[in-house]
Amino acid sequence: MARVTCKQFILDFLADYLDAQLGPEVVADLERHLAICPPCVAYMNTYKRTRELVGRTVPTEMPQEMKAILRKFLLEQLAKEKS
């Protein structure tokens, strides 16, 4: 049973904790810390939310017209290279 500081939680453990990559003893130590540390809970919640937002707002879909242009371009290139 080890005491965890906020610095350790945030810098060393948080990412692996959220990815469920840590063993049960470490997890217990971290959750013991979270139980008494509102700032770390806030940090964890907002860190998680940041990841989700990145996943939702960053992806840019390929415009349909671009697909048509790409198809045409590739067919032309392939024809060129065959001849």
Partner: protein
């Protein structure tokens, strides 16, 4: 990703099979575009990357030895092509991110204004978080990340590759990738918290 089937597809495309090209495009074009746009941050470059990647796949498929999955190889080509395009556009000065990361007191507590330390905007309604303003903030913060940080962020948190897959694509150690990824997210979190968290103590 079905490597065997995909390899056959590529061979068929090389012989001029338009239907095979269509299938290959269906499988990869959108994903490559999304990744390329995530890295280069502009449409024109992303379009060129997709074209370059497809051509490279057709030309170099014979040198693909099947050691890694085809999908991994394509991701690697796409990532490298996008980074080269990006590097050609801006002089990349590797900015130290340290000032944008959380700092800590000697007792291990986070340093800073108490309201900021406790700020938890994670329950803010979706409509607000996905508002144009918030998206702009996030986009600008992502643009400002050094390329290699944005790259791992896009590969992991947008494309959904595992940490191990990201490491394989960028050709670096798992530890280096995890560290960079975590730092990228921390920087973005700080920026979002500055903008979305409760107002700081002083009146502006």
């Amino acid at each position: 990703m079905e490597t065997e089937a995909d390899l056959q597809l590529v061979e068929r495309v090389r012989t001029g099979d338009a239907a095979a090209l269509e299938t290959l495009m269906d499988r990869y074009a959108s994903r490559i575009y999304r990744l390329a746009h995530g890295i280069t941050r502009n449409e024109a470059d992303a379009e060129e990357v997709v074209q370059d990647v497809f051509l490279t796949v057709f030309r170099k498929i014979h040198s693909f030895e099947g050691r890694a999955a085809l999908g991994s190889w394509i991701y690697r080509v796409a990532t490298n092509t996008a980074l080269i395009k990006r590097r050609g556009k801006r002089a990349e000065i590797e900015v130290s991110l340290d000032s944008q990361l959380p700092s800590f007191l000697s007792d291990g507590h986070r340093a800073g204004d108490p309201a900021f330390i406790l700020a938890d905007w994670s329950r803010t309604p979706e409509t607000d978080l996905l508002s144009r303003e918030t998206r702009e903030i996030l986009h600008r913060a992502i643009d400002a990340l050094p390329d290699r940080y944005r790259t791992v962020l896009v590969l992991r948190d947008v494309e959904g590759l595992s940490n191990e897959e990201v490491a394989e694509v960028v050709g670096e150690s798992l530890a280096a990738v995890k560290s960079r990824l975590h730092r990228a997210r921390m920087v973005l979190r700080e920026e979002l918290t500055r903008r979305l968290g409760p107002p700081l103590g002083r009146a502006d």
